[in-house]
């Protein structure tokens, strides 16, 4: 075999990794010889960790060492002509879910991280140099290293019912480094590889279906689940015998390599930069690896992946990303501070007070997710009809797109009802208001409905700025009221802040948590404190931004100053998105609550009146801050103010964040920094590389500057910086 990419790893000592993974759930490699119809023999490896499908097989060091030994034995049997091929497949529904993420925090150094990369290459690379062809029969879920098992094999088949196929590494702050970044573009072309390695992970970690992956060229054949392994084996026999010809139309040719490849990389780099900025490291390392994979030198590509993985795995961004990933995967599913779910009342009918856009969006969501009768009401029939028409229209759109079957559409339409007769709310178990954001209005509405509904009916308010306790002050049964704060757009944003007001009882809270779960949202429990979590943090960053602007700093400087955070968008764009009026209102509310800490900006009100902050071209793309806006601000600067430097703005925001988060925890708004991070990731799109917020504040020193401590002990750092940190502390 020429250019055996595993040669460079022969003789490496992987025992340091084994010593780190003494409690690894080992995925064993079982081998059985299969007699193919032609009489050829295929040695079939089954990867199985002995657990059921809820604990997918993962690829830890002990797993990889065992697999390597099995592959060495099979290579010997191949050279002795005992077998004609090697196959590899997984336990039911799962090939492998990639590296064992439960272990990454144990990696002590960049050197150990590099060794892990090398062990993966050394093991999976053997699949390509067995002396006989290897076949990956991808019978189900294949993520990361699972996909790379296939890429290192000679041929691949996929089960059409496979739950997901993906290389999610970039989403987690690393790169597909067991061959993925090198082998994939050389198999399916650079454009398809960019989609798998970069685009999908950056779209909230989107996964591929088996059909998608097959069409991209990641597999040579696709078979239905019913006979997947039988069909795959028969197909392999055909390949071995020559009766099946494997065609790979996506494999890059010379022209693609010389012309298309660099162009595609440049376009992708520009797109990534404009979408997420240049703070996250992994997308750019991935782009670099993909660009260099053009040379088709697999061994060199593996070596490049080793270097990239060593650096990223031992870096801070990956540590924060894993922290964030665990929040989203685990903490999100078991909300802290929620009462026993058995206390929840069953919600058999939902009432929505209001029929405007927000109310209609609520009604639509409750209909689709709870599939119970939903009644909406408003001041007059015309408004009710408008709301009903909107909801029915949205349902029809879903049906037209195939998201609802005709029967489901019929069911949901029949469950929807609009009325001006409030008595029809009498048998609702859950009533949520979406009326004007004014205390007396909300108080009156609930007081009126309290006369109609049963004493146990739960009242939910979507207020973002009022005190839930105050809203319930006039109620005969204030214990039934709970805050239920959605984020816009309601159908898309995954977070709900459930506000446990002082009088809210456990049944009400439990019901709210159950409803949130059934709406397929993640709920965090907060106290009845201004801004709850997300708006309070946003008010801080927008307030500090406006303080600088009002002092004469340009919006561009402010945006530039905050770029190193890698937030989803700069302050000017965020203001544009939430609306200047809403933004001004949020600042006012927080200023009213804590005047000494939260800045309010009269200029923001002026800008709201002006109508727009950023100038846009005919396609709606922002070109920059509008001249009118700049003029208006310049005419009304804070007396005695002076422009802030980017460093000053950045530190003001970092320190403001650290202070406010610290206070929230002291006040008990939520129980732990994890909840704040989770809320910001899901409610405001704060990035994984920051770990939401608190890991970032710890690692840039803001926490120490502000309150002389850290949010996390030990601080969430990559292995490369952990040692350094210990020296500081020690």
């Amino acid at each position: 075999m020429t250019n055996d990419p595993t040669t460079q790893y022969r003789g490496l000592d992987f025992t340091p990794l084994l010593e780190l993974s003494t409690d690894e759930v080992v995925t064993h490699s079982y081998v059985k010889d299969i007699a193919l119809p032609s009489g050829r023999r295929l040695a079939l490896i089954t990867l199985d960790n002995g657990r059921d499908h809820t604990r997918p097989s993962t690829l830890g060091p002990a797993t990889l060492v065992e697999l390597a030994a099995v592959l060495d034995e099979l290579a010997q049997r191949a050279s002795a002509h005992e077998i004609d091929a090697v196959g590899i497949t997984g336990k039911p529904f799962i090939l492998a879910a990639g590296a064992d993420l439960s272990k990454v925090n144990d990696i002590p150094s960049a050197a150990a991280a590099k060794l892990l990369a090398q062990l993966g290459h050394s093991t999976l690379g053997r699949l390509g140099v067995l002396g006989v062809p290897s076949f990956a029969f991808v019978n189900g879920l294949a993520l990361g290293g699972g996909v790379e098992i296939g890429l290192n094999s000679t041929y691949r088949t996929v089960d059409s019912s496979a739950a997901a196929i993906a290389l999610p590494e970039v989403f987690l702050g690393i790169i597909p480094g067991w061959g993925g970044a090198t082998l994939l573009p050389n198999l399916i072309g650079i454009e398809n590889a960019l989609k798998v390695v970069l685009e999908n992970p950056l779209k909230m970690n989107r996964m591929l279906s088996a059909t998608d992956a097959f069409e991209l060229g990641m597999f040579d054949a696709k078979f239905d689940h019913v006979n997947f392994l039988e069909d795959s084996l028969r197909w392999a026999d055909g390949v071995l015998g020559g009766s099946v010809t494997v065609e790979r139309p996506h494999q890059p040719g010379r022209i693609e390599r010389t012309v298309k490849w660099p162009m595609a990389i440049k376009i992708a780099t520009d797109t990534v930069r404009s979408r997420i900025g240049s703070v996250p490291k992994s997308p750019y390392r991935a782009l670099d690896l993909l660009a260099k994979a053009k040379d088709g030198d697999i061994a060199a590509g593996f070596a490049r992946e080793d270097e990239a993985l060593a650096e990223l795995i031992s870096g801070d961004q990956f540590a924060a990303s894993i922290y964030a990933f665990n929040l989203v995967q685990h903490r999100a599913k078991r909300p802290v501070g929620a009462p026993d779910s058995s206390l929840a009342r069953k919600v058999g009918k939902v009432g929505v007070i209001g029929a405007g856009l927000m109310a209609s969006q609520f009604a639509l969501l409750f209909l689709r997710r709870l599939e119970v009768p939903v009644v909406i009401t408003d001041l007059d029939q015309a408004r009710v009809d408008k709301g009903l028409a909107y909801i029915r229209g949205e349902l029809q759109k879903l049906a037209d797109r195939g998201r609802l079957s005709p029967d489901q559409l019929g069911r949901l339409k029949a469950l929807l009802h609009g009325t001006t007769d409030r008595s029809e709310f009498a048998d609702c178990d859950w009533v949520i208001e979406a009326v004007f954001e004014e205390l007396s209005v909300k108080q009156d509405v609930f007081a009126d409905f309290e006369k109609i509904v049963s004493p146990e009916t739960v009242f939910a308010t979507n207020t973002s700025s009022l005190s839930v306790n105050a809203i319930g002050a006039e109620l005969e049964h204030p214990e039934r009221l709970v805050g239920f704060h959605f984020f816009n757009p309601v159908a898309v944003m995954p977070l709900i802040e459930v506000v446990n007001a002082p009088k809210t009882n456990e049944t009400t809270l439990a019901t709210a948590m159950a409803v949130a779960k059934n709406l397929r949202k993640t709920a965090i429990v907060t106290t009845d404190s201004t801004g709850f979590v997300v708006n309070r943090v946003l008010a801080k960053v927008l307030g500090e931004a406006m303080r600088a602007v009002d002092d004469g700093t340009s919006f561009e400087t402010v945006d530039e100053a905050l770029a190193p955070l890698g937030l989803p968008m700069p302050p000017s764009e965020l203001l544009d998105l939430v609306g200047l009026k809403v933004g001004a209102h949020v600042l006012d509310t927080h200023h009213a609550a804590w005047p000494e800490r939260f800045y309010r900006s009269e200029n923001l009100h002026r800008l709201a009146e002006l109508g727009s902050l950023r100038e846009k071209d005919s396609k709606g793309k922002a070109k920059g801050i509008s001249k009118d806006a700049e003029r208006l601000v310049r005419a009304n600067l804070t007396p005695g103010g002076r422009p802030h430097s980017t460093a000053e703005v950045l530190q003001a925001v970092q320190d403001g964040f650290a202070d406010e988060v610290h206070r929230m925890l002291e006040e008990g708004v939520v129980s732990a920094p994890e909840d704040i991070d989770l809320a910001l990731i899901l409610g405001a799109g704060y990035p994984f590389q920051m770990g939401g917020l608190t890991p970032y504040l710890d690692r840039v020193g803001a926490s120490r500057r502000v309150f002389g401590g850290t949010f996390h002990t030990p601080v969430i750092l990559g292995a490369a910086n952990r040692a350094q940190q210990q020296e500081l502390v020690g």
Partner: protein
């Protein structure tokens, strides 16, 4: 044909049949980790893949038999297996039970509907996962059977009914039974070596804690069996009895499926029939000697068909027990070693997954018909628990018009 009437008669053809390899029942058997319904589905998928000219929505009905219909071997198997095999939802299905003749009854029931003109094409098969669903598990026989002596105590234990046959026919010695069993093993082995069995087998991926494997052959065969070994086996049903594991069919897991069609459908879909159905019969005997069942059922079928036993050129008899086959052979004056009888061996060697066995007899007879154009008629017959027999007479479409 006018309004309100159907073509009341059609020829019925056995177009094709496939089966899973048969596995030894129990924890050590190859299908211990495989569901019963999945076995039926694999057989069905294999059958349909072999007959691509048949549109799946042309199938009028699916009958799948099982004796112990519970758990993964319950839930209206014909319907569930059809859905799982990817047949369109427009294709109906149902489950059948006549114990060991369940699969045979699937075939005769579907055949009847075709003959009547109601159906054009049907699937008929059976499955029995005796490892997961031992015969009689959870059964609750009515106490009247015993209190009123409606059946003897032996009737519910198949091995004891075999001992009763030895009692009734002293000339059926243990030695004859053992020799018959040994010959079955040898004949199956010879058929395997000649590649006669494998073409109708559908490979099944099998999972165990030690990884995936592939079932490609019947698991329970013992080609090395000798008379000495057989003589030394225990007689589990009676002290100093005659019935042993060596002259009985073993507990087995497996599934079979067959494709039946009427004359018009054969033409329309370009199918090649392997056998034409002549007639069939079921008959009852005393439950304590259930192994005798094929005698009256065969006599009845021959009578209906206007044939004599001499007209039958090939026999596929289910070998529940050697003694039960021998009682049939003696009755009809056939030699223990008659070359027309089970030329490729039988259930003693390949196994007897109760309700699945009937269609296996048919698919083997169909292959033999192709090799024997001088044979016009063949018989598939089997005994059934609680004293029944089932017999189906087939005609060879390849018959060359000469006398055998």
């Amino acid at each position: 044909m006018g309004k309100g009437s159907v073509a009341m008669t059609s020829e019925v053809y056995f177009v094709d049949g496939t089966r899973t390899p048969f596995g030894r029942a129990g924890e050590k058997g190859m299908y211990w980790g495989t569901r019963a319904d999945d076995l039926a589905v694999k057989a069905m998928v294999g059958l349909l893949e072999r007959n691509p000219s048949l549109p799946k929505d042309a199938i009028d009905d699916v009958a799948v038999a099982a004796t112990t219909q519970q758990g993964d071997q319950g839930l209206t198997l014909g319907r569930t297996a059809a859905i799982l095999a990817g047949l369109p939802t427009s294709v109906p299905g149902f489950a059948i039970d006549r114990m060991c003749a369940g699969g045979m009854t699937s075939v005769t029931t579907m055949a009847s509907a075709i003959a009547f003109g109601a159906y054009d094409v049907a699937l008929a098969g059976g499955v029995e996962h005796m490892g997961r669903h031992p015969m009689g598990l959870d059964a609750d026989p009515n106490p009247r059977f015993l209190t009123e002596k409606l059946v003897g105590e032996d009737a519910l234990f198949m091995g004891r009914t075999a001992e009763r046959l030895h009692d009734r026919f002293p000339e059926l010695t243990k030695e004859r039974s053992d020799r018959y069993g040994m010959r079955s093993q040898q004949k199956v082995e010879a058929a395997y070596r000649a590649g006669e069995i494998q073409p109708d087998l559908v490979s099944v991926a099998i999972r165990s804690e030690a990884g995936w494997g592939l079932a490609t052959e019947d698991e329970g065969r013992r080609p090395e069996t000798t008379m000495e070994v057989l003589a030394a086996l225990k007689t589990p049903f009676r002290p100093h009895g005659r019935v042993t594991a060596g002259n009985s069919s073993p507990l087995t897991d497996g599934a079979t499926m067959s494709l039946l069609a009427g004359s018009d459908a054969v033409k329309q879909y370009g199918l090649t029939p392997k056998m034409r159905l002549v007639t069939f019969a079921f008959a009852g005997v005393e439950p304590e000697v259930m192994g005798l069942g094929p005698v009256p059922s065969t006599e009845k079928a021959l009578r209906k068909a206007g044939l004599r036993i001499e007209d039958i050129g090939l026999f596929e008899l289910n070998e529940a027990f050697s003694v039960q086959v021998l009682s049939f052979l003696d009755h009809f004056g056939l030699d223990d070693d008659d070359p027309r009888v089970n030329p490729w061996g039988g259930a003693i060697a390949v196994g007897h997954p109760l309700a699945a066995s009937g269609p296996r007899l048919m698919m083997q007879l169909a292959r033999q018909f192709a090799d024997h154009p001088e044979v016009r008629y063949g018989l598939t017959a089997m005994c059934v628990g609680l004293g029944q027999g089932g017999s189906v007479i087939w005609e060879n479409p390849n018959w060359n018009g000469r006398q055998a």
